[in-house]
Each structure stands twice: as structure tokens, then as C-alpha cells.
Symmetry: D2
Subunit: 350 residues, 4 copies
Amino acid sequence: MIVVIKAGASPQQAQEVIDKIVAMGYSVNVSQGAERLIIGVLGVRDNKDVLAAQLGGFAGVERVMPISKSYKLVSREGAPTDTIVRINDKVEIGAGLVHVIAGPCTVEGSEMLIETAHWVKRCGATLLRGGAYKPSTSPYSFQGMGKEGLEILAEARAQTGLPIVTEVLDPRDVPLVERFADILQIGARNMQNFNLLKELAKTRKPVMLKRGLSATIEEWLLAAEYLYAGGNHDVILCERGIRTFETATRNTLDLNAVPLVKSLTHLPIVVDPSHGTGKWDLVTPMARAGVAAGADAIMIEVHPRPSDALKDGFESLTFDNFATLMDQVRPIARAVGRPVASDATLVIEA
Amino acid sequence: MIVVIKAGASPQQAQEVIDKIVAMGYSVNVSQGAERLIIGVLGVRDNKDVLAAQLGGFAGVERVMPISKSYKLVSREGAPTDTIVRINDKVEIGAGLVHVIAGPCTVEGSEMLIETAHWVKRCGATLLRGGAYKPSTSPYSFQGMGKEGLEILAEARAQTGLPIVTEVLDPRDVPLVERFADILQIGARNMQNFNLLKELAKTRKPVMLKRGLSATIEEWLLAAEYLYAGGNHDVILCERGIRTFETATRNTLDLNAVPLVKSLTHLPIVVDPSHGTGKWDLVTPMARAGVAAGADAIMIEVHPRPSDALKDGFESLTFDNFATLMDQVRPIARAVGRPVASDATLVIEA
Amino acid sequence: MIVVIKAGASPQQAQEVIDKIVAMGYSVNVSQGAERLIIGVLGVRDNKDVLAAQLGGFAGVERVMPISKSYKLVSREGAPTDTIVRINDKVEIGAGLVHVIAGPCTVEGSEMLIETAHWVKRCGATLLRGGAYKPSTSPYSFQGMGKEGLEILAEARAQTGLPIVTEVLDPRDVPLVERFADILQIGARNMQNFNLLKELAKTRKPVMLKRGLSATIEEWLLAAEYLYAGGNHDVILCERGIRTFETATRNTLDLNAVPLVKSLTHLPIVVDPSHGTGKWDLVTPMARAGVAAGADAIMIEVHPRPSDALKDGFESLTFDNFATLMDQVRPIARAVGRPVASDATLVIEA
Amino acid sequence: MIVVIKAGASPQQAQEVIDKIVAMGYSVNVSQGAERLIIGVLGVRDNKDVLAAQLGGFAGVERVMPISKSYKLVSREGAPTDTIVRINDKVEIGAGLVHVIAGPCTVEGSEMLIETAHWVKRCGATLLRGGAYKPSTSPYSFQGMGKEGLEILAEARAQTGLPIVTEVLDPRDVPLVERFADILQIGARNMQNFNLLKELAKTRKPVMLKRGLSATIEEWLLAAEYLYAGGNHDVILCERGIRTFETATRNTLDLNAVPLVKSLTHLPIVVDPSHGTGKWDLVTPMARAGVAAGADAIMIEVHPRPSDALKDGFESLTFDNFATLMDQVRPIARAVGRPVASDATLVIEA
């Protein structure tokens, strides 16, 4: 940690800061820069935030700059190899093949979901998505089918063999949702719902953690650290677009995050171009781009009839459009040396 | 709702959209603009989101633009007069006097809290703030004293008479926290924790709803609508800064929001310049600015010794600095014709 | 254009708005929505901004929403086919092959530039970049070699045959720079330097228009419209990252913009992952992603020794890293059916 | 300057960085933190950017963190006292009184301007604003009256005695505009038009530098440093709102910037709530807030008939509304101990 002393601070003000650091058990390395006195604090491993908060309270302090990252276990240094999240003997996320998670935004009924599940499997998806509990900006909007939706998802899994990704919103719902889901999703609005994170840290099911709308990479990895430090090591990150000044798209899909996260953490990362763009005609090119950037999986909203969708009609692909997406993503996945998982399986089986 | 048809759409594609709208029971008003066909949808009161989602699913649709606001009950049209949130016979927020809520970020112990409570009361604060449950970006940071913190707050209230504002993070904690708190705070990270909103909608205690870091005014008022529609009409908004590209301050305090919110809703609004700036030396000028912009209250972090604080040392005022803040805020409050409440009480009592 | 009348406006206030619109020679289409009166303005082709400004001045008006886009000539409807910018008989941008523009941020001397030019050509670049006039945030930073830099660029072109892309900052420098450059670059900070745009509209050289740090897609296309309407139809767009709250990367490369721009305009688009990330180890994956998203070209900063660079050492690729980038971009380009231009040329020549 | 070495870097990689620093003539202070090696670079006064760029080019470097600010002359340390910009013997900006700059967005004709000038003077404005050269997002919008507009401004000054603030867009127009203007305005879009800054650095007229839409405080002060270092010490800053995700207002007026800038620089600062909000009904409360935050002046758009305005009808105040604004700003200005200048003059004259 580096502490910058104000240009006009008195020697006594600087000394008070040094005394405080030493009193807390750390060493200091003081150097006089061209304009300011700089104090390096050595030996800080834990309680970094408390130390920073307290040093910030001194009148002579201009800035406190942390050097090491606040997350430990999920950092590259925290594990010798890349994390592979194993759902079953066919689906391993982070193991070098590109998985495709597809399905409707929301489970709206049995027929539409099962029809979609069969179609996306046929096209090459290896996981099924669908929301039973939906966060809605307006209290007057559809909030999901709840338990009935979970049961429909389970039926679709039974028929297709596709593992299920579904969101959990409330710590009280965790026991129920984890009975049904193969991967528990934490939505963007809940990325810093710390009690939900703590609850999910205790389950044995993998968790997919979506990046918050205005979350920095550092905050996102700290949220993952909550899961990891709490005992759940099967954590998958999901970039789904951030909020910026640009309103021509619903969100700004931050693909920079893909290679950056790969360099910072050993966890796998999914790209969601449906929420990341909010426009169905941008989903396929951005799915290609996500895979080219190095994503371990992509997650795509597909609906049999988007013009009947209860949510996200604007960004849902029709069946035909999803087939086209798969046709275009496959050669990109091969070009980066990480084929689409369903293709690879076919090859292995053949 | 206005539906804009794509420039290159066929007449049949446009007709499909019109048929859909009519089939859903609404009227249409079609007009041919210079470049695009425009369809006005008339009679939409509810299910606006579903309609927009579905119209967005048509290939011929370029854009769907809502006209009326999604929030109803909290809008200016939703109530004939300004909401006044009455805590006790001395403290009414929104009634024309400026209240000052002050106290430490976090309850760190009995002594520091009670010392602070007495001081802020003496300076003119009319409510006491302090966190017992703290959201922390890092799992390794202090997470609050929990129930013990609530008990200390209650003791401070018993000694000073100041009502307590404290945060609740988890729907499961609501019964406990509402036993102690006079105002239940929803933090910025939980503004769209919809199940927490629903739980708090059922309490009889007033709720202070902080604006999310990247929440639009519309989303903020929709979160308030969750509380209001769920039965809790004692809702107070709190502007605490938004996240922007500027990193010289911790957040960008959006004071535009104060008069804008006043024109859109009948709910009272608090300004929090401590989180809104993240720097103690900016807190006092921005407290003045918040009151000048029309805030019903300001909320200020005060700590007996910021350099011992467990959180937010950078933005906490010392006792002396808080006294200065009060000295500077008082004449501004009088200048806008809404004196600081403790002054007004003195006058009335005298 | 749609005019929304305030919920509480009087019939007379609404009538004044209607009278104004009719007096300006337009037709109106009035409809009473569930909560607000809506006035459609028909026949607006030009002077849209003046009309919007004036309608905004009425007390009864809540909002004015434009329907048609403000740009015309650069819009998809403005031309029957995609624009192809032809530099010479080998280099055509927008014609279906992916071009690679490479070179140092800044021309620092003859040797380093010519060495770089030979290398990037050998690796497959088809255009050379390099700044002679540099915008610098600080007045104390290097501002470029000026005319001498242009002469060095010309020498590199003479030796390698690579056309030159270089920036012009000042309307007064246009005559000089256009004598040397094959493509004149408008930097992000000058995207709305309207007099520079007007001056460049008069040259016969193609212009590459970088997106401003906080420019919406609409503003960017309006800046392109300045060039096009002023007589220069050889306009190339360049996405180079926008400014957001995220500081882990220098900018947020907005690849959503690539397919979106392709749907809105007939102009070609370049992606610049060097400025778009600000970190050399992210440049290659984001170059892959840019090509996968549909870019017509990528622009890459390459320096023989980044640790001696006068600018942008953090984001410059070494020669070896650039060779790797080309190796990785080639299969992606083939996978989207738009091979890297130098490969295609080889094939055609062979 | 602090250089953080990557966790996994080899000792040799670290040594290369140290050798480079020493070879450039600086001293180093190396310390081994808990996780990373930290190198303090001592003695860096100039060429900071080059050094940072080059160190960033080393493979072993994780981050380079500047400590001292890049601006010097405009910093608090750069001058012993606050800068006072003296326009004439009545108007001194930064001298402790609050000035009001008012007038239309654009000079649209002689009558409307002179009528406005008389009115704003009568209400208490001490400077007149009005654009003769206007930056327009669209090439089809009104671009200002040019020289004729300047002549009309001069006539209004002759009749009222109010000094004129007007914008210059192009380095080539500086000689003409400076003949007419009392304060030369640099618009937000030109804040980093460095050649325009250099040209204005040579004039003898004061310059008002608006903050760019996405400019950090640091970049803004560096732009001011261009003016100051180039010889023009009469520099006034103007906060006019930044671009954020919030679209309910045209911009987000960043009043945090007012006290922050006051602590960082000796230059005076103006607040422009008209552009900062884009809505006339928010202008008055935000003018109050700007003065309460400590602004040296406010700048307000006033139009005799906003519904006839050629620009910015939405944010222009009518004559009556401007009179109300002045009535409300006066007591705030007195409350912060810095009365509105026209009041103070009256007192002195009386």
C-alpha cells in the first residue's frame, strides 16, 4: 500500500501517519519524491480495507493506493491451473471446448420450453437456460412462474439431457432452486447481494455469476471471492454488458473483460450477447466476437415466437436465427482452437 | 406507446404489427411520417412491458417508445399532495424543514456511537445514522456488529431521543431490524433487490431508498413503486451519487436529481454528500449545495476519530468539521425558506 | 417527430403547440393516450433541430421525440450499396477483405519507422500508420515530429508500397498533410471539431473518422455526415473504445458498434484494439474479436522496442507479438468469409 | 512515480526496469511488498509521460502509477493566491462576489439580443453571453451568424455596458473574435482541441474553458495548463455537466467539481446549469446549488421567447423565469458570504 502525503502537510502530520502504520504492526518505506512524501506500507496481507479507511482519515493524507489485489483465492496466483467446472460427464466448462447455453429468457409454459430445448439441442447447444424467478424493474411486470417453472425445466432436462441454468434471486429460495438447477445463476442486479452470495457459497452446485451493470472487474472478482472463500469453488463468470452513456444498444458488451479476466483469474468465463446488446440482429455477430475473444461459453436467448415473448422479445432469436448463429460460431470456435463442445463430442463419439 | 416501423419493412410486416396490437385489445393510430410509418398504440395502461417485449419481437419493428411512465402511485399524478414521512411528533421529513441525519458509517462500539449521537444532536442533527449490517465489496472486510449494533443504536436513541436510520440487507433480517430502527435504509447495492423491497413493503416502518450506483431516475422510482404498491407509503428517496467515468471523487453526486425527482414524485428526498463525494473536504460544500437544490434532508457521516474508523475514514467528518457544516448549512436552509429543523424547533419551543 | 404534452397541461397550452406546428407548415396527427396527449408532426424533413428546440420551449411540452434519423446521406437508405474506399489498385476498404493497418503510435525517427514498415508488411499488413501530429493531454508531452514525420512516412511508403494513414489535427495543416497521406485520420478528440470536418470534406483523400470518447453512434454518424455532405464520400469509421466507469482497461472497446453501424450506414468500419484496450496483452484477442464482429479492417500499434516508445508503450506490440496477432487473425478472417487482404492478394497473384 | 512489478516476473525482468530508470537519470527506491515488488522512481519532474509510456512497454511491469500531478502552473502550488480575472473595473471574476453571465444560446438577430441584454442587466447580470459561432452536432443545423453576430454583441455591450462572453471554434477565427469578445469561450467539444488552446494562449483576452463532456478533472486542468503555460493567465473554468448513463437530464451537472477544483487550482470556476441540466425548470434550483457549492459565477441561457429559439429552447429561461432565478440566487449568495456582484456594486455605489 502506498500513502501519498499532501504537498502542504507538516512533518508532524506525516509522522502521525507513520506512527499509526507502525503501531498497527506494519513496516514503512519512506521516500521523498519531487513534490510529495511517499510512504510505502509493507507487510499488509489482511485488513487492507480497514487500514486504507483509517489512513484516509488523517488530515495530511492525499491518497491511499492499494498495490496488491483484494481478491486472493480466485486470482491467477490463487490456483495452479485453470478451474474446470464439471456439470456431468459431457459438460465441462473451462476445459477447452466452447459450450453453448441457450433457451428462453423466461419459462412461460411447458410446451414452449420443451420445444425450445429440443431445438437448441439439435442445433448444438449443450446447456439449457430459462428463468423461473425473474427480477423485474417494474412491480407490474411478470415475475416468473416460480416452482412450476423449475419443474418444467426439469422435465425439459429429462427429455433432452441438457443441464439447466436458472437464476436464484433470494437466499430463502436457494434450497428449492438448487434441487432443480445444474448451475445456479446470480443475476447482474444481485452481483453484490452479499448474503445471497454467502448462501450460494454453501451449495454444492456450480454458480454462474453475472457481472453487475456498473461493476468493475475488481468488484466482480471480489464477488466471486465471496463464493470461493465460502467454500464453493465451481464459479463461472458471465460478462453480459455494462451500462454506459450509449443507448443505441441496451448495454455495452465489454469483451475486453474476456482476455483481461483470463489473465487475472483461473475461473472460466461466459459471454451473453443477448443481454449484452439487447437487439436480436446484433446477437450473432457478438456471439462470434465473444468466442473469438476467448470465451469458454456463450449464452443465447432463443424463443419459438419472439413476438409472443413475455420478456426480451427484442433480443430473442427465432429458431432459424439460432441455427444460423450456430453455423457461424462453429468455424470461429475451430479457428481459435476450441471447437464447439457438441461438435467435439460428435467427433469423439464417431 | 409509439411503434416505429423500419424504413424498408413491407406493408405486410407493418400490418402484422397492427393486427397484433388490435388482437391484444388496443386501438391504433397510424401515420405515415416523412421516412417511416408510425403506429400509435392507444389504451395501454397495464402490461406495457409485455406489449413492448412482444412488439420488439417483430422483424418489421425498428423501435418501441413508451410514452407514459411505468410508475403510477409514486408519480406526481399518484397523490394530491407531497408525502410527509412522520417519524415522531418532532421529526417529519418532507414537511418543509431541512432535517440532518448524522452519525458514523458503522456502529463500531457503544462508546463511539453514543459520544457521536450526543455531539450531532448538540450541533442540530435530528436523526442518528449508523450501520449494524454492512455490505462490503470484499469478503475479508468488516461486515458490521449485527444485532449488537442495533442494541447500541437503541441505547443511543434512549439517551438522545434521536430516531435511528439503519440499513437492512437481507429479507430474513427485516423482522429484527424493524424492531429497532425508526427508518429502514435500503442501500444503493440493494435498490433492485426486489424481494427485499417486497419484504419492506410489508413493514410499518418508513423506508429510505438509496439510488443505485447506475440506476436511472426511472428505475429508482420504479423501485419506490415496489414499496408503495406493496403497502408502505412512507418512502423517502436518497441521492448518494452515481458511478461515472470520473474517479477524482468516489461517486458523482447527481444534484440534478433533486429538483427532477421533486417534479416527478410526491416523495421526499435526502441528499448524502458523504458517499456522494467520498472526500471529507467536499462534504460541507456539497451539503450546502444539496440543501440549496431543495433536499428535504441531508445525511452526513461523522466519526469521533476518522483515523480510527473501520470504514469510510476518507469521507467522515470530525466533530469539529460537523459543527462547521451545520454552521454553513443553516443560512442556506433559511435562504431557501426551509430552515434546519432543529432551529425551527428551538424557535417554536422558545 | 412526436410531441408529448404534459399530463397537467391545459387544452389551450396544447393548442398553442399545435398552432405553432401548423404555422411552420407541417401537419399534425393528434391522439389522446391513456394519460397524455400525443401530437405527431408530419412532413418534417429538414430543420428538425430548430423545430425540436422551439417546441421544447413551450410550457406544455413534456418531451419531443425525433423519429427519423438526423443523418441522411451516410444512412443505409442514403446509398444503394456499401461504400468501398479505394486507396490504390491493391487496397480497397469495405470490399470484403480484412485489411490490417499497422505501425507505431508516433513517428519517432526514420529508422524505427522504416524498420517497422518492412516488418508489418512482411507479416501481412496492407497499410502503415504513424502519427506526425499528436494530440497530447499534457502541454509538456511530445507533440509529434510534424512535417519531418510526414516525410519519413513518405519514405517508408516509397520503400514498402504501403499506403499511409496519419492524423491531421488542425484545419490549417490540411493542405500539407493531404499532400503526404493516403488516408487522413480524424482523432477521437476531434470527432466534433466541425471546422476540421468541413475542411476535410473538401479534400480528395479518404478520411478515417475515429469515434469520440463519449460519442453516441448517432453523433458519430452525424460527424460522418459533415464529411459526406461536404463532398467527401470516401469516409471510413473507426471504433477505438469509449470512456466508461471501468478503469482496468484504458477504454472500453465497443464491438457492439460494429454490427450496429453496419446496419445503419453503408460506410466501412475499422476496429482499433490498441487504443480500445490500452494493454498490449489484450490487443490480439480483441483484434480477433473485432474481425469476428465484422470489421473491414483492424488498426494495430507496433513498435520495434515498446520500452523505448515516446507514447503508448503499454499498448504497443513488439514485432514478435504482431506476427502472432497476424497468425491468429488470419483463421478468424477466413472463418467469417472475409480473408485478410494480403493473403487474398497472394492467392490471386499465385 | 511508482512501478508495480508483476507477481510472476523474474528477477531479471525487474532488474531491466530498474536499469532503464537509472539509465534515464532517476533514482529508485525498491521495496518488496507482501506480493509484489514495488519500485519508487525519484526525481521525476518532467517527461513523466514518456517515462510512463516506456516503463509500460516492459513485459515485467504490471502498472505504472504517477504520484504528482501533471499540471503545475495552474495547481494550487503553482501560485500563491487565487487568480482574479479582471474584465474591467466593475467585473472581476474570482474576487469574492458571484457574477451572473446571462443571454441567449445563440445570437439570432439584433432585436432579440439587445432586448435580452437590457433585461438581464436590469435583473442583475454583470456579463452577457451569446454565440456567434455555434458547434452543431448536425451539418444541417444553424451554425451561427458569424461576424454579424459579433457586431450585434458589440452593439449590445455599447448599450448596456455588459462585457461579452462568446465562443470561438477555430484557430483561424481567433483574431476576429478577440477583437469583439471580452471573454473568449472554449466549448466543451473543444476542450482538447490543443491547437485552439495554443492559439488562445497567445491572446490578451481572458478565456473561459468549458469542461469536456467526458473529461476528467485532471484532463480539464491540463487543458487549462496549455493556456497558462502558453502565456495566458486569465483562465476561467466552467463546469457544464458531464455525460453519464442518465438520460433524464441532458447532462449530469457535476457540482462535486466545484469544491474539488477549488482545492486543486487557483483558477476561478463558473457553473452553467443550463447545459448542465438541459431543462429550464431545473435551471434555477441548480443555479442555487452551484452558488452554494462555491462557484464564482453562474452562466444562464435566457431567451425572450424560448418557443422561437433556434437552439436550446428546452433549457432557456423566459424573462420572468430569469427574474425569479435572480431572486432566489441572491439570498444563497449572501448566505455563503459572496453576494451577487450587481448587488454589491449597488451597495458600494449607494
